[in-house]
C-alpha cells in the first residue's frame, strides 16, 4: 500500500495539517503536499479511469506530464473538471472527485470495454458503425460520446476574477531549476532586465531531489543562494507558480500564473496571464522521464521512477512497500537507492542493458544489497486495480517467464526527453541525440524573430544536458551568449558553479519490453495511458499505411490526450519507426502546439467578462434613456434605445405610439451616435468630391446636402448629410457606427493616395450630443426655449446655423430623416443632458415624446428613405436604389465610379428599389423573396425580387415595405408572390416607395 513515511518530505510543513475529501471521503495531508502526494499518503492509488477502455488508472508521474490522475475539483462556482492532482497544491477544505466512470470509481460499468479491447483497436470506429445509416446519430454516437469525455461540465457561473499583465524584459528565463537559476543569475549580473518564471511553487527543480552536489555542497544551498541573490537584483523579477505556456512570434510569451488556486477565498484574481515580450527567451524547462512499454505498464502502482523518488523525498510518501525498478539507464537507480534509504524494500532492479562493468550508481545499489538483474525485463505486470507482482523475462527474448517477483509497485524509467515544447512552438527545429535517444533543440535552427535571428535558446536538461556540471555550464553559457548578443556585458570573472559529475553508464534505447514481445503482450503495452493507445495500435496503423507520423497520431489518437503526449510521443514515434523500419529522426515529430500544459479559458479571457466583456458606448443621454424604459438595441458598440416601453405596453405598442406621436405632435431622437467628421483645407472640396458620389464642392456655406459614399468597389457604404461650415470647412454626418470607419476611410485616402492634397480631417462625433426635434410642434418647442431665429425664412429646409437656444450654445441643422418638420441640434456633450431636459420641459404640453430606433425606421420607411444596412447589404450600388440623382454626372471621378462601369453593375437586369404593399394590408415578412417561374439548373426556385424593409405603418394603417425587384420601376402595379417561411404566400403590389407625403411638403414648412 502507499502511505506516509514517518520521516522525510522536504517540501512538507508538517506542523500544518490539512483536511480534504476525495470522492466524499475525508483525508488528511500537510501544507506543502500536492493533491497527488496527499492521495498517495492516504493509500488512494486508484484515481481515475482511462478514456477508451475505462481501465483503472493510478498516478504515474509527479508533474504536469501526468496523464491519468485528473479529478473534478471544487464545487459550484469554483468547480473545475480535469484538474491534475500532480499540479494541484493541497489546501484546507479541498474537495475532489474522480472522473469518467459510472456508477463508481471502483466499479465502472464502462470497464466492459477493456474486455472488448481486442475488438476496439486503433481506428476501429472508421471501420464499423456505418449501418444502418441513421444509427450513427441516434445509437452509436450517443453511446460513444457518453463513454468518452473526462470530467463533468461545469454548471455554475465562475465566481472568480482573472487578469492580464503586460511585462517586458531583455531575457526571459523559463524554468526555475538549477539551470534556470544559473541562467537568470548570469543574465541578471550583466544588467539585463530579466524575468524568471517557474511553474511550481518551489525553486530548484529536480536537482535537490536527486541529491546533486554544486560547489561541493548540496544543491539546495546553491538554490537558496541563487534565489537570494536574484531577489536582491533590481533588474530581476522572480515568479513561482507561473508556467511558460506558449512561445509566440517576435518574442511573445504567455506566462500562466496561478495566483490563488492554492489559497481559494483570498482576495485577488485567481489566475493572471502574463503577456511577456522578451528580447530573448531561455528555456530551462528540464526533461521528462519516459515510461517503458511492457505489458501491464498501466496498472496502478506502475510509476515513473523519478516520480516515485519525488514522492519519497519531497513528500515522505511511499508508493509501495516492495518496489521493483525497471530501467534502461542509470537514473532509475537513484530511485532504488532513495527507496532503500527510506527503509523500503526493493526486491530487484531489472536493467535491460548488458554492461561490461558497473557504473557508480549500480555499485551503490548493489552495496545496499539490491539485486540487480542485467539484461532483464518485465514480461508483464500482474494485478488489476493495483500491482501485485511482475513477471520477469530477458529483454532480448520474447517474454518467456524467468521468475515472478511479488511487489506492490513498479518504478520504470525509459530514459529522458528534454522538454522542447516551448522551443518548438514557433518553429525551432530538433535533432536526434543517439546517445540519449531523444530529440534535442537544434541550436542551428532556432525559431526566427523579428530581426531574422533566433530568439530562443535552450539551456540545461532542456538542451539535452544530463550531467549536472554540463547543465550548469550550459545554462551559464547560454545566458552569457544571449546577454552579449543583446549588448550587455557579463562580468569577466563570472563562471558557472561546479556541478558534481556522475560516472553513468550509457543508456540503451528500449522501445518494447521484451524486444520480441508477442502480439498478445503488445496489446497490453501502453504508450498513451489516457487515450488507451498501445504498441499494437501503432503497429496496426503502420500496417495500414498510416506511416506519416501525423497520420499515425491521428489514426491511433496517440499523444492527443490532455497531456499532449508528454509521456507517449517519443515511445510512440520509436514504435512507428520500428514498424516501418526507418530511423527515428526520419519519421520526425508531430508539431508542438501551445499551450505547454492546459491553461484556463478564464485566464485567456482575462478581465473581459460581464460588464466589461466588450466596451459599451453610451451617449450623454444614456442615463435618461435607461431610467425611462429604453429597450436597448446594440448598434456596433453603441447602445441605442429601440423603443421606450411604458408600463402595460408591449414593445410594439410603444413603437406605434412613438411613431404616431411624432407625426402628430413632436418626437425627440437621441442622434448623438451619428458620426460627425470635420473636413478642412484648400483641397477639402476636391477631396469630398472624390469621397461622395455627389458634388460637395459646390455646396454653399450655411447649406446642407445629402450625400452617398461608395467603396472603390462601387458599393454603397455610407450616407449622411454634409454641411458646409465655411469656405474651406465641411462637416460630414455618417451613420451610427460609421464614424470611425468613415474617418479611417478618409484618412487612408489622404495619407496613402492623395498625400499632397491639403486637407485635415477630425472625428468630432463625441464632442456633441445631438438631438433631433421632430414633428409639427418642433418649431414651437424651440421658440419656447428662446434664442436664435428658427423660422422658415431664416433657417429654411436644408440650412444650418450656429446660435443659442434656451441659453445653450447650439448648432442647428434643418434636416429631416422622418419627412416631418425637423431640427437636428448639436450641443457640447457636457451640456447634452441639460439640453435634453430643457426640451422635455419646453415640449411638455406640445406632446413631446422621445422615440427609438424602430420608430426612426418606420418614419423613414414611410417616406421611402433608404437605410444603410437595410436597403444595402454590401452588394448594392446607388443606381439600384433610385439614387442616380445623387450621383454627379459632372465629375470625372469619385470612389466607386470606375467600378460602377463594370458589366454586371450596368446590367439592366439588376434588381431596383420599389415600394411594396400587400393586397390585404398585412405586413410582408422581412427578407422574403418574390418568386418567378420555374427553377434554375441547380433546382432552386427562380426569384425576381426581395423585401429589404417591412413595417406596419400606424399612420397609414397598413403594412408597407421596400424591396428590390427585377425591372421593378417598370412594373408599377404588378402583383408579386412572396412565399413566407410560415407556409403562407404573401401577395404584394409594386408601388412607389414613398408612402407618406409624396410631395414632400411637410418638412418644408
Amino acid at each position: 500500500m502507499s502511505t506516509r513515511l514517518a520521516t522525510g518530505g522536504r517540501l512538507l510543513k508538517k506542523s500544518q495539517a490539512v483536511e480534504f475529501t476525495f470522492n466524499g471521503k475525508t483525508m488528511r495531508g500537510y501544507a506543502g503536499d500536492t493533491l497527488a502526494s496527499a492521495l498517495l499518503a492516504n493509500d488512494q492509488m486508484l484515481v481515475g479511469r482511462s478514456f477508451k477502455y475505462h481501465r483503472p488508472r493510478g498516478i504515474v508521474a509527479a508533474g504536469p506530464e501526468e496523464p491519468n490522475a485528473l479529478v473534478n475539483l471544487g464545487d459550484e462556482a469554483s468547480f473545475e473538471p480535469n484538474q491534475r492532482v500532480t499540479t494541484t497544491e493541497l489546501f484546507e477544505g479541498l474537495t475532489a472527485t474522480s472522473q469518467n466512470h459510472w456508477p463508481s470509481l471502483e466499479f465502472d460499468v464502462g470497464a466492459i470495454n477493456k474486455h472488448l479491447s481486442r475488438f476496439l483497436p486503433a481506428g476501429f470506429y472508421y471501420k464499423m458503425f456505418m449501418y444502418p445509416r441513421s444509427f450513427w446519430k441516434h445509437v452509436y454516437e450517443p453511446i460513444i460520446r457518453q463513454s468518452a469525455g473526462l470530467g463533468k461540465a461545469p454548471k455554475t457561473k465562475d465566481g472568480d476574477t482573472y487578469e492580464h499583465f503586460y511585462a517586458f524584459c531583455d531575457v526571459l528565463v523559463i524554468g526555475g531549476g538549477v539551470a534556470g537559476l544559473e541562467a537568470a543569475l548570469s543574465a541578471g549580473r550583466s544588467g539585463a532586465r530579466v524575468i524568471l518564471i517557474e511553474q511550481t511553487a518551489e525553486w530548484g527543480g529536480r536537482t535537490p531531489v536527486d541529491g546533486g552536489i554544486i560547489d561541493e555542497a548540496d544543491a539546495q544551498s546553491f538554490v537558496d543562494r541563487a534565489v537570494a541573490e536574484l531577489s536582491a537584483m533590481e533588474n530581476v523579477t522572480l515568479r513561482t507558480r507561473t508556467m511558460g505556456a506558449g512561445v509566440y512570434d517576435h518574442g511573445y510569451v504567455l506566462g500562466y500564473e496561478r495566483v490563488t488556486d492554492h489559497q481559494p477565498g483570498v482576495a485577488g484574481p485567481r489566475h493572471r496571464l502574463w503577456r511577456i515580450r522578451a528580447g530573448h527567451i531561455i528555456t530551462a524547462t528540464g526533461a521528462i522521464e519516459r515510461p517503458l512499454s511492457f505489458a501491464g505498464n498501466d496498472i496502478p502502482g506502475v510509476m515513473l521512477a523519478a516520480a516515485m523518488r519525488d514522492y519519497v523525498v519531497n513528500f515522505g510518501v511511499s508508493v509501495g512497500d516492495r518496489t521493483v525498478v525497471v530501467t534502461n539507464n542509470d537514473d532509475a537507480y537513484l530511485t532504488a537507492i532513495a527507496l532503500k534509504h527510506a527503509g523500503l524494500d526493493v526486491p530487484a532492479i531489472l536493467d535491460a542493458r548488458v554492461l561490461p562493468q558497473d557504473s557508480e550508481l549500480m555499485a551503490q545499489a548493489k552495496a545496499l544489497g539490491i539485486r540487480v538483474l542485467m539484461g532483464h525485463a518485465v514480461s508483464s505486470v500482474k494485478g488489476g486495480k493495483r500491482v501485485t507482482g511482475v513477471v520477469v523475462c530477458s529483454q532480448a527474448g520474447e517474454g518467456a517467464v524467468l521468475e515472478e517477483i511479488a511487489c506492490d509497485a513498479v518504478a520504470m524509467s525509459g530514459g529522458w526527453s528534454p522538454v522542447v515544447h516551448l522551443w518548438s512552438h514557433c518553429g525551432g527545429k530538433l535533432v536526434w541525440d543517439e546517445a540519449h535517444a531523444c530529440f534535442n533543440p537544434d541550436p542551428n535552427n532556432p525559431p526566427i524573430g523579428a530581426d531574422g535571428a533566433g530568439f530562443v535558446t535552450a539551456a540545461g536538461a532542456a538542451s539535452g544536458m544530463f550531467q549536472l556540471d554540463d547543465v550548469l555550464n550550459d545554462a551559464h553559457a547560454a545566458a552569457d551568449g544571449v546577454t552579449r548578443s543583446l549588448g550587455f556585458k557579463t562580468p569577466k570573472d563570472a563562471k558557472a558553479p561546479k556541478g558534481a559529475r556522475r560516472d553513468d553508464a550509457p543508456m540503451m534505447p528500449v522501445w518494447l519490453m521484451p524486444q520480441g514481445a508477442s502480439a498478445k503482450l503488445r496489446e497490453k503495452a501502453w504508450l498513451d495511458y489516457q487515450n488507451d493507445v498501445k504498441v499494437s495500435d501503432v503497429r496496426l496503423a503502420a500496417q495500414e499505411g498510416f506511416v506519416s507520423v501525423e497520420h499515425a497520431k491521428r489514426y491511433t489518437t496517440l499523444g492527443m490526450a490532455t497531456d499532449q503526449g508528454k509521456l507517449s510521443n517519443i515511445n510512440g514515434l520509436a514504435t512507428l519507426a520500428n514498424a516501418v523500419n526507418a530511423p527515428i529522426p526520419s519519421v520526425g515529430t508531430t508539431t508542438f502546439r501551445p499551450p505547454y500544459h492546459p491553461i484556463s479559458m478564464a485566464a485567456i479571457g482575462g478581465e473581459a467578462r460581464g460588464a466589461v466583456f466588450q466596451p459599451v458606448r453610451r451617449t450623454p443621454l444614456h442615463d435618461w434613456h435607461d431610467a425611462n424604459g429604453a429597450e436597448w438595441e446594440p448598434v456596433g458598440h453603441w447602445r441605442r434605445p429601440y423603443a421606450y416601453r411604458r408600463a402595460n405596453e408591449t414593445t410594439h405598442d410603444a413603437v406605434m405610439r412613438e411613431v404616431s406621436n411624432t407625426r402628430e405632435k413632436m418626437g425627440l431622437l437621441d442622434a448623438s451616435t451619428l458620426g460627425k467628421i470635420i473636413v478642412k483645407g484648400p483641397d477639402a472640396g476636391k477631396f469630398l468630391d472624390m469621397m461622395y458620389t455627389n458634388m460637395m464642392s459646390t455646396l454653399k456655406p450655411g447649406k446642407c446636402r445629402y450625400g452617398l459614399m461608395c467603396s472603390e468597389n462601387g458599393f454603397l457604404i455610407d450616407d449622411g448629410v454634409v454641411a458646409r461650415i465655411e469656405e474651406d470647412t465641411w462637416l460630414c454626418h455618417t451613420t451610427t457606427g460609421g464614424a470611425e470607419r468613415i474617418h479611417g476611410h478618409m484618412e487612408e485616402w489622404l495619407q496613402t493616395e492623395w498625400w499632397d492634397w491639403n486637407v485635415y480631417v477630425a472625428n468630432v462625433t463625441e464632442q456633441y450630443a445631438q438631438v433631433a426635434v421632430v414633428g409639427p410642434n418642433a418649431r414651437k418647442c424651440l421658440e419656447r426655449l428662446g434664442g436664435m431665429d428658427v423660422s422658415k425664412e431664416t433657417l429654411g429646409f436644408m440650412d444650418w446655423a450656429d446660435g443659442e437656444l434656451g441659453g445653450f450654445k447650439v448648432r442647428v441643422y434643418r434636416i429631416s430623416f422622418s419627412g416631418e418638420l425637423s431640427y437636428e441640434i448639436a450641443v457640447d456633450a457636457s451640456h447634452g443632458r441639460a439640453f435634453w431636459d430643457a426640451l422635455l420641459v419646453a415640449g411638455h404640453d406640445l406632446g413631446v415624446m422621445p422615440y427609438g430606433t424602430e420608430s426612426l425606421h418606420i418614419l423613414r420607411a414611410e417616406k421611402g428613405f433608404i437605410m444603410i444596412g437595410d436597403e444595402t447589404d454590401g452588394t448594392i450600388i446607388p443606381q439600384d436604389l433610385g439614387l442616380s440623382w445623387a450621383i454627379s454626372k459632372k465629375k470625372d471621378d469619385y470612389l466607386g465610379k470606375r467600378a460602377q462601369e463594370r458589366s454586371h453593375m450596368t446590367d439592366p437586369n439588376r434588381w431596383k428599389l420599389v415600394g411594396l404593399e400587400t393586397v390585404d394590408g398585412s405586413t410582408l415578412p422581412d427578407g422574403a423573396y418574390a418568386v418567378g417561374e420555374g427553377t434554375n439548373e441547380n433546382g432552386q426556385r427562380n426569384v425576381i425580387g426581395r423585401v429589404t424593409s417591412s413595417y406596419h405603418s400606424p399612420n397609414l394603417g397598413k403594412g408597407i415595405a421596400m424591396g428590390l425587384v427585377l425591372n421593378g420601376p417598370d412594373r408599377m402595379g404588378e402583383t408579386l408572390s412572396f412565399p413566407g417561411t410560415d407556409g403562407k404566400t404573401y401577395e404584394a403590389r409594386i408601388t412607389d416607395p414613398v408612402f407618406y407625403d409624396k410631395e414632400g411638403e411637410k418638412p418644408n414648412v
Binding site: T161, E163, H164, F165, Y166, A167, F168, R193, E234, T237, T260, V266, A267, G268, P269, R272, R275, R277, E607, A608, A611, V612, Q614, P615, V616, R617, R618, T619, P620, H637, W638, I678, K680, G681, P682, N758, Y760, V761, A762, V764, T765, E766, Q767, Y768, G807, F808, K809, D828, A829, S830, H831, R833, A834, F835
Partner: protein, 190 residues
C-alpha cells in the same frame, strides 16, 4: 448655459490597490497642421502657454499644457471654461495657415490613477512597458487599454492621467476598478 457635466459625474474608486478618479471637465483642443512650420508653432505656444513638445512628449504647467499626438497633430490643454475663447483665438490666428483646430473637450473622459501600484494597474490593461525608467513623466503614450484606444501620461511618479472617448468612460472606469481590485498587487516593478 448649464453646468458642464462629465461622463461619470467625477466618480471615484479608492478601496483598491490604487485610487481611481474621473476628473474634469478639462479643456482640450486638437490642433492639426505642419508642426515644423514656425507660424503654427507660435500659435500653438500662445494658446497652450507651454512650448511645443518633442515627438511623443507632453509639457504641462498647472491646467495648461500641450501634447504631441502625431506628426501633424497637437493636443492643447486648458481650463474647460476657457476652451471656447482659446479656440476662437486659435482659429483666427490660423486663418491664413492650412491648419485645423477643433474643440474635443466634451468628446473625452479623463481619469487619474494614483498610488504606488498605479503602474501595475495600467500594465494590466495596456501593452506598454511601464517599468520605472521605461516610462516616466514627460511622455504621452497613445495606445489601447483593453479594448479601447486611450492615451496616458504621468503627472508624477505615482500618478497617471488617462484620456479616452467619453462614450466609453464607464467601460474605462469599470476596467480600472477591476485592475485595481484589492489583493491584485503584482509586485513586478521594483
Amino acid at each position: 448655459m448649464s453646468e458642464p457635466v462629465t461622463a461619470l459625474h467625477n466618480a471615484s474608486y479608492t478601496s483598491g490597490i490604487a485610487e481611481v478618479f474621473e476628473v474634469g471637465p478639462i479643456g482640450m483642443i486638437t490642433l492639426r497642421g505642419d508642426l515644423n512650420a514656425k507660424p503654427l508653432r507660435k500659435v500653438a505656444v500662445a494658446a497652450a502657454g507651454v512650448n511645443v513638445p518633442d515627438q511623443r512628449g507632453i509639457l504641462t504647467e498647472g491646467a495648461r499644457g500641450m501634447a504631441w499626438m502625431s506628426p501633424d497633430e497637437l493636443l492643447i490643454l486648458c481650463p474647460y471654461d476657457e476652451v471656447h475663447a482659446r479656440l476662437a483665438d486659435l482659429q483666427s490666428a490660423t486663418a491664413k495657415l492650412h491648419a485645423l483646430a477643433v474643440n474635443m473637450s466634451d468628446a473625452r473622459a479623463v481619469f487619474e490613477i494614483r498610488g504606488p501600484h498605479a503602474r501595475e494597474v495600467l500594465a494590466k490593461l495596456a501593452p506598454v512597458d511601464l517599468a520605472p525608467g521605461r516610462f516616466a513623466p514627460g511622455t504621452i503614450r497613445r495606445t489601447r487599454m483593453a479594448q479601447v484606444p486611450a492615451a496616458f501620461w504621468m503627472v508624477d511618479d505615482v500618478t497617471f492621467r488617462i484620456v479616452c472617448f467619453r462614450s466609453v468612460a464607464q467601460y474605462m472606469f469599470d476596467l480600472l476598478k477591476i485592475a485595481a481590485q484589492p489583493g491584485s498587487e503584482v509586485g513586478a516593478f521594483k
